[in-house]
Amino acid sequence: MNTSASGTPDPAIDSAFVRRWLSLATSAIEHKSSWLTELDSAIGDADHGTNMQRGFAAASAAVEREPSNTPGEVLTHVGRQLISSVGGAAGPLYGTLLRRAGKALGDQPAVTPEELCVALRSGVDSVAQLGRSERGDKTMLDSLYPAVEAMEFALSSGSGLLAALAAARTAADEGAAATVPILARRGRASYLGERSIGHQDPGATSAALLIAAFAEAAEAV
């Protein structure tokens, strides 16, 4: 088992880890719901917070009811629940991300940080594919890609899970903040043209919350 710089041991990436993530993500989304809606009202349709809150509440409740014993199964389950309960653009996109990531984890009871990282990358790629979007379009991809790349870089430089997820979290936050000056080319914000400039993308913001929840899940053993 790897150990972080601060000496805290890296936790196992098992179903408990993913459940911890889900619970942290759910409460982060709940706390930031009005802010997400506020961001969405500037350049969208003022529903991103409520959408995410509804979806994560449903996913939490569903995962609680069902005994999923592998991290892959839990992620897949969460993804399916998001698809069935969020709606809007975020539902299919986040749902597909997590389903794809979950499937990529296979049916092992625990996975390595590298395996988690590969799974997340394939999930994020599937968002780009489904959304016909790329980095720089002012979407969730603008925090998701930096996060995955920071994690990849940290792991390949010898960091453990904790440090890698901490790096991902910082990169996601920066990525979200960096959407402010971008002119939107995908999603509702693209309808605004030039007027989309100067506002932070709600999806990039919620994505940063979800990445942060991974970092917290690793710390919170």
């Binding site: 969208g44 069935s84 709606g87």
Partner: protein
């Protein structure tokens, strides 16, 4: 912002309960968010399914019935419904002749309907799709999510619905739906922002003396903000935008659509100016619809939709339709 509601969370469910009470000719599944013609599936008939965020009433639930939609899937306010709803709707209305999904071109709607189509096809339902994208305010380019679907939806649902009612097979209904969409263009203006129940206040600030040109129907600001204009000037701007893009060379249908908060008296006055503007540009109008059909909650403003007409479309338009919001001939 005061609203005639209980709590924001139950707005959609409450609306469906009220719809059910007023319209016994509809089967309303409040829990699963489905509004279905009571006589569905109609033997041998292609089923039409649409849906989208709530807040645009009467679209789509108010268009369910003979000669129009077989089912509607209302999402949360301004939020596309989820694939489960649409797949369930497809199963409920498929008589074996297949189902056409009428989808407004928004990322969320398109993605969710795509997933629903996969689910429905897994269940053995043949699915065709038409994506409505009539709003000329948004350029359809690599740099946008493409033109939005707005007032054109009414024409697609009505005309494809009429063809389906006559017994046209799925490929013909789908082809007709695409043709109608290709012949539709819309342009909208807002005099005020709308207030969503979740936000509890206006989705954007529109100062006194200003209006938004090129708005959508989800409370998003428009493409341009301008000093307040007269009804005649607005009609010229909207008709110009639509006609320049569509270049109609024959008769058209016109929809002068209220966004929800504009009094019908003003809407009729606006129609007078729209008709004048079309007349001045040599566009002959065969049918006009004036009213609140594709709304944006309590937003003040209006949109103009022009749809190419021909003999076949005119016959379909005039054929019997029986829905909560559009009814004639029966």
């Amino acid at each position: 912002m005061k609203m005639l509601i209980n709590v924001p969370e139950t707005v959609v469910a409450d609306g469906l309960r009220g719809l059910a009470a007023a319209h016994p000719e509809l089967t309303v599944d409040v829990e699963n968010r489905l509004v279905v013609r009571r006589d569905a599936p109609v033997e041998g008939k292609v089923g039409l399914v649409s849906g989208g965020g709530s807040g645009h009433e009467p679209l789509h639930a108010g268009f369910v019935g003979r000669g129009m939609l077989d089912a509607a899937c209302p999402g949360e306010v301004f939020t596309s419904p989820v694939p489960d709803q649409m797949a369930r709707a497809a199963a409920a209305v498929d008589s074996g002749a297949g189902v056409l999904f009428v989808i407004k071109n928004y990322t969320g709607d398109v993605l969710n309907f795509d997933m629903a189509a996969e689910l429905a096809e897994d269940e053995g339902v043949q699915v065709a799709k038409v994506i409505v994208n009539d709003d000329v305010a948004v350029t359809d380019s690599l740099y946008t999510a493409g033109r939005r679907g707005t007032g054109g939806t009414l024409f697609v649902e009505r005309l494809a619905g009429a063809a389906a009612e006559e017994g046209a097979p799925l490929d013909r209904v789908a082809t007709l739906a695409h043709r109608v969409n290709d012949g539709c263009r819309s342009f909208g203006v807002a005099l005020s922002a709308c207030s969503t129940p979740a936000k509890g206040g206006p989705t954007f600030e529109l100062p006194p003396g200003q209006l938004e040109l090129g708005i959508g129907i989800h409370g998003e600001p428009g493409r341009e903000r301008r000093a307040m204009m007269t009804s005649g000037e607005i009609a010229d701007a909207a008709v110009d935008a639509v006609v320049t893009d569509l270049r109609p060379d024959g008769p058209v249908f016109v929809l002068v659509n209220g966004m929800g908060g504009t009094p019908l008296l003003e809407l009729y006055g606006f129609n007078a100016e729209v008709q004048r503007a079309l007349g001045e540009r040599g566009v002959p109008v065969v049918r006009t619809l004036v009213g609140n059909y594709v709304t944006s909650l309590d937003m003040a403003g209006a949109s103009v939709t022009v749809c190419r007409a021909d003999d076949e479309l005119l016959r379909l338009w005039d054929s019997p339709v029986r829905t909560a919001a559009l009814r004639w001939g029966c």
